[in-house]
């Protein structure tokens, strides 16, 4: 395992590429718009899954844009209403002795079963507690899916899925694993909606990623996804991954933030010679949207930038892999959904508002951000 840029820990804004190239052997997701193919098709049509709903579920509150899976309510049930969709999603996962010695599993989420913890505290019912911590919620999934015990649980807010992908790649590159499974899930509850509402970025406005306007607004969405990684041979590969943590403020970036470029620039250099498009993080907050759009404009001005959270909402810890599954559909089909929910003027001229039909693209950089100035990005391309 080597670093393409070399580590220089006295200048930590220089982010190396993890050169553990891996094959994306299988990938799937579920969002409020359906599975990966259905989500991709709906985004191409410009459909918006978000709908205004009371922020605290049955307890009411201001209307905020949420995209819940069909049949799900914000108030969590027991067993949790996310369990059946996760099990259905995993029917698309290739069979393997997952959780065995050479088949590690990485489960990532920002919120795990916290909706059950909220339900217990607000309404009672000890049975909710079986799902209330990361460990217990993952244990339920492992039992339902017949996994063995080699499971790593990660939680780093909205870059959680990216960490799972990176650790899986490292175990493959180190010959510790033959195949690795990454499962990510994040389902909304009053706990999560109430938290973002308290931060005043979840409000009654619709999110418009990369649109230059006066209001910051995000939407939140349900999401789950999986990826099976193998050592690279052929097909689609994750050619490189980057991470960077600014550690400046929980919810703000430093002036002239270099965190976006620290993750983006090495991947753009790695993709030299390829025709790239960009799937940005693009939540709809003004500061991060402006910084991200500018960083991509500087690094790869000819590459169109799109973001999908104006339709799907921000699927939190799962967003990196949910949107990777849709990006894979886009690369396969040569049809890339535009930035649904946004309108001109945009923060930079490289933002694409409408869908792009062009089969000559041969790579996509996918980016995610999180609390604490956490950045993650990866390059998906054909081997």
């Amino acid at each position: 395992m080597t670093s393409l840029l070399g580590w220089n820990e006295s200048t930590p804004t220089l982010t190396p590429i993890d050169s553990c190239s891996v094959q994306l052997a299988a990938c799937g997701c579920v969002s409020a718009l359906g599975d990966a193919a259905e989500t991709h098709a709906a985004l191409l049509r410009g459909e918006r899954a978000l709908a205004l709903q009371p922020v605290c579920g049955s307890a009411g509150g201001d209307p905020v844009p949420l995209s819940l899976l069909a049949g799900r309510n914000l108030d969590e049930t027991c067993p949790p209403s996310w369990l059946a969709p996760v099990k259905k999603l995993m029917r698309g996962c290739p069979d393997a002795p997952w959780g065995g010695v050479r088949h590690p599993v990485f489960v990532t989420s920002s919120n795990f079963g916290v909706g059950n913890l909220f339900a217990f505290r607000r309404f009672g019912g000890l049975s909710h507690l079986e799902y209330g911590t990361p460990e217990t919620s993952v244990s339920v999934i492992a039992r339902e899916l017949g996994w063995r015990g080699n499971i790593t649980i990660l939680s780093h807010a909205c870059v959680s899925a990216n960490l799972g992908l990176m650790l899986a790649a490292r175990q493959l590159a180190s010959d510790i694993a033959d195949e690795a499974l990454v499962l990510t899930f994040d389902f909304l509850s009053p706990f999560v909606a109430g938290g973002f509402y308290a931060l005043k970025i979840l409000n009654s406005e619709w999110p418009a990623p990369y649109q230059a306007r006066d209001v910051s607004a995000i939407g939140l969405g349900d999401g789950a996804a999986f990826a099976v990684l193998r050592k690279p041979s052929s097909g689609w590969i994750i050619a490189g991954q980057t991470l960077h943590n600014e550690m400046h403020h929980f919810t703000a970036f430093p002036a002239g933030s270099g965190g976006f470029a620290a993750c983006i620039d090495p991947l753009v250099r790695l993709a030299s010679g390829r025709r790239l498009w960009i799937k940005g993080h693009g939540t709809g907050t003004l500061e991060s949207g402006r910084l991200e759009a500018e960083a991509f404009r500087r690094a790869c001005p000819a590459s169109p930038l799109v973001g999908w959270k104006g339709s799907l909402g921000h699927t939190l810890g799962s967003n990196g892999l949910v949107e990777l599954a849709v990006a894979l559909e886009s690369l396969r089909s040569g049809r890339i959904p535009g930035t649904v929910g946004s309108a001109a003027p945009t923060f930079s001229e490289n933002v694409s508002l409408g869908p792009i039909v062009d089969s000559s693209f041969d790579g996509v950089v996918c980016a995610s951000n999180a609390f604490g100035g956490a950045h993650a990005a990866l390059l998906l391309c054909h081997a």
Binding site: M1, S3, W7, E9, S10, P12, T13, T15, P16, D18, C56, A59, G61, V101, S110, V114, L117, F118, R121, R122, L126, L129, G132, T133, P134, E135, V138, G149, N150, I151, T152, I153, L154, S155, H156, A157, L167, R170, Q171, S174, I176, P190, F191, G194, G195, Y197, A198, L199, L243, H244, N245, M247, H248, H249, F250, T251, G259, F371, G372, G373
Partner: protein
């Protein structure tokens, strides 16, 4: 075989110490705003990381099963008027983030692990697979409030931090080595137990060595100079 040298070790056995006492005990070692505003787990982690953070690092691996259980409980109880401050500090990776934000110290990699039956083994493997020359491995638990009654929080407070380096140097205090159990001549069925975070902490606190399995897949050799 995966190997790293321990160049710095910090531990804090807070046990059942109450939050006010922990805050008073550790307040003086931090900036005033951090001492006032940090979560209890943030204080414990900040305390054990202090010496390790005197030098740069390329990666931090953090292991906690319950994370910010007190803040999580307080945030739940803030409804129907949810607190923005409690929300953002209740997220799992918050303890280390509070420390690093207070110091305005960026870091390339940050891997917060969130429980699981083999948390110690997973955290060690994550640290030893990092390409960074210097990795900080830290973790711990704060003693929970009402969530303890439901085994959803720790009933013991503790924190640890180790600086792990690729090469032996003048500051080396010990060595960590992970070997796959099959390669070590054992079999999967011979792995009798999994080392808990609390047991791992006790090893570090006592400065004891260890040679044996820590999960079904991994055997740990821990030696002190």
């Amino acid at each position: 075989m995966l190997e790293r040298y321990v160049s710095c070790l910090g531990t804090d056995d807070a046990g059942v110490e109450d939050p006010a006492s922990i805050r008073a005990r550790l307040r003086g070692v931090f900036t005033a705003p951090f001492g006032r505003r940090s979560t209890i787990l943030g204080l414990l982690i900040g305390g054990v990381l202090r010496k390790a953070l005197e030098r740069d690092c390329g990666a931090i691996v953090y292991a906690s099963a319950f994370g910010e259980s007190r803040t999580l409980a307080d945030f739940l109880d803030s409804f129907p008027h949810p607190s923005p401050t409690l929300f953002q500090t209740s997220v799992h990776p918050s303890a280390v983030q509070q420390v690093m934000i207070d110091r305005q110290r960026p870091v390339t990699e940050y891997f917060p692990l969130a429980g699981g039956r083999c948390l110690v083994a997973r955290a060690l493997l994550t640290a030893l697979l990092s390409p960074a020359d210097r990795v900080l491995l830290c973790g711990g638990e704060e003693r929970g409030s009402w969530m303890c009654d439901h085994r959803m929080a720790s009933d013991r407070g503790f924190a640890f931090a180790l600086a792990l380096e690729r090469n032996r140097n003048a500051s080396t205090q010990g060595r960590l080595r992970l070997e796959p159990i099959a390669d070590a001549g054992g079999s999967l069925s011979a792995a009798p137990w999994m080392m808990s975070s609390s047991e791992w902490f006790d090893l570090l606190q006592a400065g004891r060595g260890y040679s044996g399995p820590i999960s079904a897949e991994w055997r740990l050799e821990l030696e002190w100079s």
